[in-house]
């Protein structure tokens, strides 16, 4: 009876049903992560392995991107500031932009593309080739081994990568400022640290933790629930990136409102 009624539903209603079912499913996945993450046995070896893969193996890409962002942003900002004779404010402007928004955002978006897709594809392919079932029948909890370790690793490593990106971007900016305005390293970083506050740093770190968690959980959720063979694996990887990026922008917007509210208190 219920199935017959379901068949008669209009397409839009079915899609809304599917959306909310998916949302409930995702919520129970997140809840399961928190339930399993704090209960023994802990998979420390696999966690360290994942931290290495996510953190160290992302360094070349993050370094290059951060450096270019620093140079380009400095170059693009100079004409506007020069118009008002304020090019000496460049280090302050760049540091605020990099620490508050660009560092976390650029790192998270790159990690969503590199790490999120790789997690989605890896777990997805394990799912469709029954490797997850094989783990389960050999009395190993696959959720703990695959999901908890990866989500924890992204949550730990993304904030560290963000700090590194901030530093590399500021170094890129320094090289540009040094070449054009002859500003020394000490003066540059004096201006940088004068402009940024503890609130900027803490909000950046907390935001990065949320971004890292989002990238990990979305990649794992999409991979863990992939079906339909290799096509499903491709879809899982793709939707892991798209959904992570979408959520990162939403979280950035929310974080901005919260930090501004705190700043105005």
């Amino acid at each position: 009876m219920a199935e017959e009624a379901d068949d008669r539903k209009p397409l839009l209603s079915k899609k809304i049903d599917k959306f909310f079912k998916g949302l409930a499913d995702a919520w129970s996945f997140v809840r399961r992560y928190f339930q399993e993450a704090f209960l023994p046995p802990f998979e420390f070896k696999e966690l360290i392995h994942q931290c290495y893969r996510i953190g160290v193996e992302s360094l070349p890409l993050i370094s290059l991107t951060g450096f270019i962002v620093g140079i380009v942003f400095t170059n693009q900002s100079r004409p506007s500031l020069s118009e008002f004779g304020a090019s000496s404010w460049l280090p302050s402007l760049i540091s605020i932009a990099v620490v508050r928004a660009m560092g976390p955002l650029v790192t998270a978006l790159i990690a969503a593309g590199k790490v999120g897709s790789s997690i989605g594809a890896e777990i997805g392919s394990m799912k469709v080739t029954e490797q997850i079932d094989a783990m389960e029948v050999s009395a190993t909890n696959p959720f703990k081994f695959l999901v908890v370790t990866r989500v924890t690793a992204t949550t730990i490593m993304i904030p560290l990568l963000v700090m590194y990106t901030d530093f590399v971007a500021l170094m890129g900016s320094f090289l540009n400022v040094n070449a054009n305005e002859m500003v020394s390293l000490t003066t540059f970083f004096f201006q940088v640290f004068e402009s940024i506050t503890f609130l900027d740093i803490w909000s950046s770190v907390l935001k990065s933790i949320v971004f890292g968690f989002t990238i990990g959980i979305v990649g794992c959720y999409k991979g863990y629930n992939s079906t339909k063979g290799t096509e499903g694996v491709g879809r899982a990887a793709n939707s892991a990136v798209v959904i992570s990026m979408f959520l990162i922008f939403i979280e950035e917007l929310l974080a901005l409102q919260i930090v501004n509210a705190i700043r105005n208190m």
Partner: protein, 250 residues
């Protein structure tokens, strides 16, 4: 009287509108090999996945080594799973690990306090038993289909299971490799004294490995008995056509 190691009573399982198992009964006695034959999608794999708790039945009872699988808590289910070896259709080797790491994975997680030397010895012994000691440092992607199946079997044997489940052990293999796998199933049975369920639609495999056959068609076991009993006087048209299609000389 022989001890029942697996007992399925009135097992039913549906996926939406699709009724896969419609109340099936089956027993596996200690030391024997039962072959479950049936068309693709007949529910053969579903049956053995219910045995290890990967799927749950809608109704009926699945008893393994005297325990009702459905009622077991996670810890007890995991203890039971250690007594069951599951050889998957596509081998399900962990493709990011070497052969050695694949075999070590269940070992280190379930048997504590093993020294490095003991682990290595056990792994070498298992690889010897499936005839592939030279593959120890290879990745699964470097192995042939038959080698993957053998390593999959070795990985399940490393925990000394009492029951072996083979899901389509000869699917996608050439006739010579099929023969090697069939012989391996028999060797495992003799050497490790296991009781086995083999899921297949390959009658040659069924004839060579099975003590008893059970033909699963339309969600029910249509015919049970020895190979001769099931196929020599098959009256059921579907069972008969199953035999005819496999071109086996009687």
């Amino acid at each position: 009287m022989k001890e029942k190691v697996v007992e399925a009573i009135g097992l039913k399982k549906s996926f939406g509108d699709l009724h896969v198992l419609k109340g099936v009964d089956l027993e596996l006695y200690r030391g024997e090999t039962v072959v479950i034959l049936g068309k693709s999608g007949a529910g053969k794999s579903v049956f053995i996945k219910i045995m290890v708790g990967l799927l749950t039945q809608d109704s009926g009872v699945m008893r393994v080594l005297g325990q009702d699988v459905e009622k077991l808590k996670t810890k007890a289910l995991n203890t039971l799973r250690l007594k069951i070896g599951f050889s998957f259709q596509n081998s399900a080797l962990y493709d990011s690990m070497t052969v050695k790491e694949n075999l070590e994975f269940p070992l280190v997680r379930n048997i504590k306090n093993l020294t490095r030397k003991e682990k290595d010895l056990k792994i070498e012994e298992m690889l010897d038993s499936v005839g592939l000691p030279q593959t120890i440092n290879q990745m699964p992607s470097e192995l042939s289909g038959g080698q993957k199946k053998r390593i999959g079997v070795a990985r399940t044997l490393i925990l000394n299971p009492e029951i072996m489940l083979y899901d389509e052990p000869t699917a996608g293999l050439d006739p010579i490799t099929c023969m090697e796998i069939n012989n391996l199933i028999n060797e495992v049975q003799d050497r490790f004294r296991t009781s086995s369920i083999v899921i297949t639609h390959d009658l040659t495999c069924a004839k060579i490995t099975g003590d008893r056959m059970a033909v699963l068609l339309d969600g029910q076991f249509r015919s049970k008995g020895s190979f001769q009993e099931v196929f020599s006087k098959a009256e059921d048209q579907q069972v008969k056509s199953f035999y005819d299609y496999n071109f086996i000389e009687s």
